[in-house]
Symmetry: C2
Subunit: 362 residues, 2 copies
């Protein structure tokens, strides 16, 4: 098998061992004589998967019992709406920190259902190249929550230290860096993320919500859009995306076997260090627009001296089976997405290609 | 491989040939060197799948160009809300025909966002055993739509002839009988259905919406909940449930190869005739509560003379690897779900078991 080097911004690479396991048991799941694609979501065999996915996540991230872990459909974009629908209302405000296109979308949806505020934005000439400093945040101590995007997939920036929001809980879209390393969950009231970058395949979104915030959730919105509905029924109010949750469980098992999130962080730091190392070794050739202290460990964004060279770079990448390197159309250039399950060996091969390319064309 | 006979009410059986194809290409999709679980939803290879799923569905059902086919996440239950959120509003009403628990849920969600009416209900003593007759429907000619549940999964009833609603478009939840046979789509303004019974795995919901109804959809609701958003971006506004859509495409190909929906209907009629044949041959033993002209071709519901015998029936079923026969808790007894991809041979084996069981215990 000739596996591609998958640098897709999402959906993204999964561990080969997980794919092999899925393949080997695809026709007969847990001796049921049925595929995991055919089992009832009300069966004991599936419930074991569902609960194991939750408890593995709880264990790996050290999530205390006062947080519920939900598995929902509809994508992270549905959470842009569900969060304010559940938590805002007359006389209730929330603070949004705008660090890129995804925060902008989240804010736009919040405005449609409530009265959110912008607590800070790092937009300059339509671009976002950094994370705001603590002192730039104009926080409302009465806000129900402060919304941040922990990693900005398109612009390649990432919060390295989460903001201090006092008593106001943080709500974070962690779609593109969930599980990249251990972190202290206590300041967070709610975390959400589409699985398709750092956790599993497209089709399931994880929502982690703290009891006190759940208690404040509205009960006059559609039943299916209430966090309370899904928390009460352990994400089995209606048919969950069974297969995607099954893969999430296998991925979490894989992380645990490898050494947990401490190991994961080490791997991710090594991969990012290699790519940014090449960029910094050829500062005239590879121009990274992002402020150094805001660089994303997941998505490295850079430009070459000309669009012609960028196209040549992407053209040459094909021969190496590097996939997904073209930058987002709003930014241009190159984006290297090196999520959790992109092997170090793929990153190494890309780094060498970058070095050779710079030497040949500088 | 010892395959179970899968009579699950959903998620349900899939064609073995489809599962084998999924298995064979799980590590390398279309020569990409990536799993279908890892490919970008913006890639050409995935778009070919997405578009093929749509055009196969269009071809099999004869769906004209003035209907959009959408693939959404969140389950059919999300459509209970999305439909009225998009289509109702001040001064706009809709008629709901209540034929079971799923119509009740749809109506409940509609009441939370608008002012729907009940056009008819067949509830008697908390049970639903029939589909209403045309003359029982109290239709409002000003209604924006008439909502029906085409097949009542729990109570085992099904609309054999769709109601005449004049100029008012029908909106149908076809979650449990979509694709069971060809039908004339013209009276329908919108059709929705979770894939996990008659179309594919859990994780994707199909919505088919006609241009004129789409034009009436609201634009002051959350962006992600607008049908217009998904129609405009061909269900690629955000990351769709890639894998589930891929399976839907394979299932549709399988139906086409087998002989299309005319063949599918023949198979389904033969399976239902076999099961109801046994029931009618032992009328003292198998008591079917449903009116004969309302019997579902998908879910046959019946009771035995005592709960003790029902338990014995279910116990004995295990040795034959019959799965999913227990009736819904609100109805009790036995439910045989014989959706599209339950093989005739499974139904034949179950029918023989029913005959033997009746003879042994009558
Ligand atoms: C940070 C972030 N949030 C949200 C989304 C949207 O996720 P989805 O496509 O699941 O709606 C993305 C997708 O790339 C993302 O990167
Ligand atoms: C007729 C009908 N409608 C809706 C649903 C709910 O579907 P979901 O679980 O995808 O929300 C079901 C599930 O069994 C059903 O049978």
């Amino acid at each position: 098998m000739n596996r591609a080097h998958n640098f897709n911004p999402g959906p993204a690479a999964l561990p080969l061992e997980v794919l092999q396991k899925v393949q080997s048991e695809l026709l007969d799941f847990a001796g049921t004589g049925m595929s995991i694609l055919e089992v009832s979501h009300r069966s004991k065999d599936y419930e074991a998967v569902h609960n194991a996915a939750q408890s593995l996540m709880r264990e790996l991230l050290g999530i205390p019992e006062n947080y519920h872990i939900l598995f929902l459909g509809g994508g992270a974009s549905l959470q842009f709406s569900m969060v304010p629908m559940n938590l805002l209302g007359p006389g209730v405000s929330a603070d949004y920190v705008i660090t890129g296109a995804w925060s902008q979308k989240a804010f736009k949806e919040a405005k449609l259902v409530g009265n959110p505020r912008v607590a800070a934005t790092t937009e300059e000439d339509g671009k976002f190249t950094r994370i705001p400093k603590q002192e730039e945040l104009q926080l409302d101590p009465q806000a129900r929550y402060v919304h941040i995007t922990s990693n900005n997939t398109i612009f390649g920036t990432q919060w390295h230290t989460f903001p201090n929001t006092g008593n106001v809980p943080i709500v974070a879209d962690m779609s593109s860096d969930f599980l990249w390393r251990p972190f202290d969950i206590k300041p967070f009231g709610l975390i959400y993320g589409g699985a398709q970058k750092n956790l599993g395949p497209a089709g399931v979104t994880v929502v982690i919500i703290r009891d006190d915030l759940l208690a404040l959730c509205r009960e006059d919105i559609p039943i299916i859009l209430r966090f309370k509905t899904h928390a009460k029924d352990n994400s089995l109010y209606n048919t969950p995306p069974v297969f995607a949750i099954y893969i999430v469980k296998l991925v979490l098992e894989w992380i645990k076997e490898k050494g947990g999130l401490a190991w994961m962080e080490q791997e991710n730091r090594a991969k990012a260090a290699r790519i940014y190392g090449v960029i910094d070794s050829y500062p005239e050739f590879y121009r990274a627009p992002v402020a150094k202290d805001s660089r994303s460990f997941m998505n490295a964004v850079f430009r070459l001296p000309s669009e012609e060279l960028e196209n040549k770079f992407l053209e040459g990448a094909k021969a190496h089976r590097f996939v997904g390197l073209k930058g987002h159309r709003s930014v241009g250039g190159i984006r290297v997405s090196m999520y959790n399950y992109v092997p170090k060996s793929s990153v190494e091969e890309l780094a060498r290609y970058m070095e050779e390319f710079a030497r040949a064309h500088a």
